[in-house]
Amino acid sequence: MTTTITRRSRLHRKEHRAALAFVAIPVIGFLLFTLFPLLFSVYASFTNWNGISAPVFKGLDNYTKMFGDRYFLQSLWNTLYMMIGIPIGLVISLGLALAMNRKMRGTTFFRTVYYLPVISSIAAVAILWQWAFNGDFGLINQGLALVGIDGPNWLQDTATVKPALIIMAIWKGLGYSMLLYLAALQSVPRYLYEAAALDGATAWQQFRHITIPMVRPVTFFLIVTSIIGGSQIFVEINIMTPTGGPEFQSASIVWYIWQKAFDNLQMGYASAMSVVLGLLVFAITFIQFRLNRRNQFSID
């Protein structure tokens, strides 16, 4: 009896050791490249630091400075503003998914075409859209000219620079949300629609009361991931409007952090802004989860 127990515990110990060795690599990576930098960011955010000499503790100075910094507030506003594209993209992609959920020829082809922008490199995409938005010779204004509209100089105009970036973001992200919606639609059991149809529900009622609730988890997932992604928008700003756009109208938070940290070497201040961004992302995730839970509760 006792021998089997010790034998088993020895075997378990051996298993524990092997398992811990296997997970050790990612755990060490997490400590070195996530947890330590995170703590360091929080520390640096309370200091005056140029990245070269030692940080000087300044308390909450950076945080109070931030909320009086016109450029920070503008970049925060720009970042939030550009998230208007998220609901628009979701509505279009749900429509596309519904269309592609039909049994007909060519859906695989369409799926591929709509997905191409998603896998394309954002740097290349930004370059080609910058050219497409060119005021005189760009593709967009050529298209608008066909219907008699004299298009603006998109990226140089304070009124159109954000819409231009939103249009591009929708174009790039459409395929991804469409694909997730399509997968969700295909997992909706058919009998739900059959039963509803027998009860005399119209197509719209079926859509409203079956489809929408059944794809809600995907909608939720897409909203959360899009907000997290949208709050970190950087590449297209950096390439298409290298100076933050006309009158700073397209500078995003990450763009401003990047500029402060690596151009102006105000690393303490930039760290403080990056901590605010991190908290923002965390809060959004948290609130979304709470809302989602309440949603489901009220449905039940």
Binding site: A19, L98, A201, A203, M267
Partner: protein
């Protein structure tokens, strides 16, 4: 899943004619046209034609910027300013694709991108798979704590970490080398661990136990049993990670300054900044198209696996 309780809506209107084929699982955009007089089959066909039409227009919108890039890349320097614009360049200037290789460090950019993406994804996939195996199939203390700890790292955006990471790598003299882009990835990728663990949960524990009784070590089990079993999931995650590394821009722009170390994405961004001043758009577009091409090819070849694994990742999220 709680949403399943929702569909008890009573019919709001007096029983109508059931819209054509509404029972076949496609609720919207169906049965509106020509209800009544036409048969259900005709309505279905009409709907399909209309849908195809709408999707085709959308597809043209989606593909137009990419096609425009390719078209521009084959024009003469002045050809791009012609009005009305030509979709089919006249003449075709294939020389643009020869010029890009000497106009900037495009080739070293491709090499650098390949070095970074290959080393990270090959080594990182192995370390991730090993950890996923331990998390899914082995007993160990603090297993859930460690796993949730790793997962929590996903909630922290990279910009919050980039300044300290930069300082760390600067202090050991790695700035302007590829190492800061490679080394963190070698330690594995939590998203990959998550999905491989998920995948392994569907494989019975008994195969591991049977192999243990036969005296195989855990490393042997991993190599001969687990790795072959998770191959489809591993391949899909590998491709996704490879494309993400290949397309990465923020980390490279922080670390890499000199032309010889820059990755492809930085090289084309510099092409864009440099040659836009000289209005040499065909050159910029040719370089961008070359940067797009490898990923487009990978996507078209591995379409099925990529699409499936993305659809899966969404439903698990």
């Amino acid at each position: 899943m709680s949403a399943q309780n929702v569909i008890t809506t009573p019919p709001l209107e007096p029983a109508q004619e059931i819209p054509g084929g509404a029972g076949s699982g496609k609720p919207a955009g169906r049965g509106r046209a020509g209800r009544g007089s036409r048969s259900a089959k005709e309505t279905l066909r009409l709907g399909n034609i209309l849908t195809t039409l709408v999707l085709s227009v959308g597809a043209i919108v989606m593909i137009a910027p990419l096609a425009w890039t390719f078209s521009t890349s084959l024009k003469t320097k002045d050809g791009v300013f012609e009005l009305p614009p030509q979709w089919i360049p006249d003449p075709f200037v294939w020389e643009n694709y020869a010029r890009i290789w000497t106009a900037g460090p495009l080739l070293t950019g491709i090499q650098n991108s390949l070095i970074v993406a290959c080393s990270v994804t090959i080594v990182g996939s192995l370390t991730s798979a090993l950890a996923a195996f331990a998390f899914a199939k082995m007993r160990m203390p603090l297993k859930n704590v460690l796993f949730l700890g790793l997962l929590s790292g996903l909630m922290i955006p990279f910009p919050t970490l980039m300044i300290p990471q930069f300082t760390i790598f600067a202090s050991i003299g790695w700035v302007d080398t590829l190492l800061p882009l490679i080394v963190p990835g070698l330690f594995g990728n939590i998203i990959m661990i998550f999905f491989l663990r998920q995948f392994l949960n569907s494989i019975p524990d008994s195969i591991v136990e049977a192999a243990r009784i036969d005296g195989a070590s855990y490393l042997q089990i991993f190599w001969t049993l687990i790795l072959p079993a998770i191959r489809p999931a591993l391949a899909a995650q590998f491709i996704l990670w490879f494309m993400a590394m290949w397309n990465d821009y923020l980390a490279p722009i922080i670390y890499l300054n000199s032309p010889g170390t820059q990755t492809l994405q930085l090289v084309i961004a510099n092409f864009n900044a440099q040659y836009a001043i000289q209005t040499d758009y065909p050159l910029i577009m040719a370089a961008s198209f070359v940067a797009l091409l490898p990923v487009l090819i990978v996507f078209v070849v591995f379409q099925r696996q990529i699409i499936e694994s993305i659809a899966l990742s969404g439903s698990k999220g």
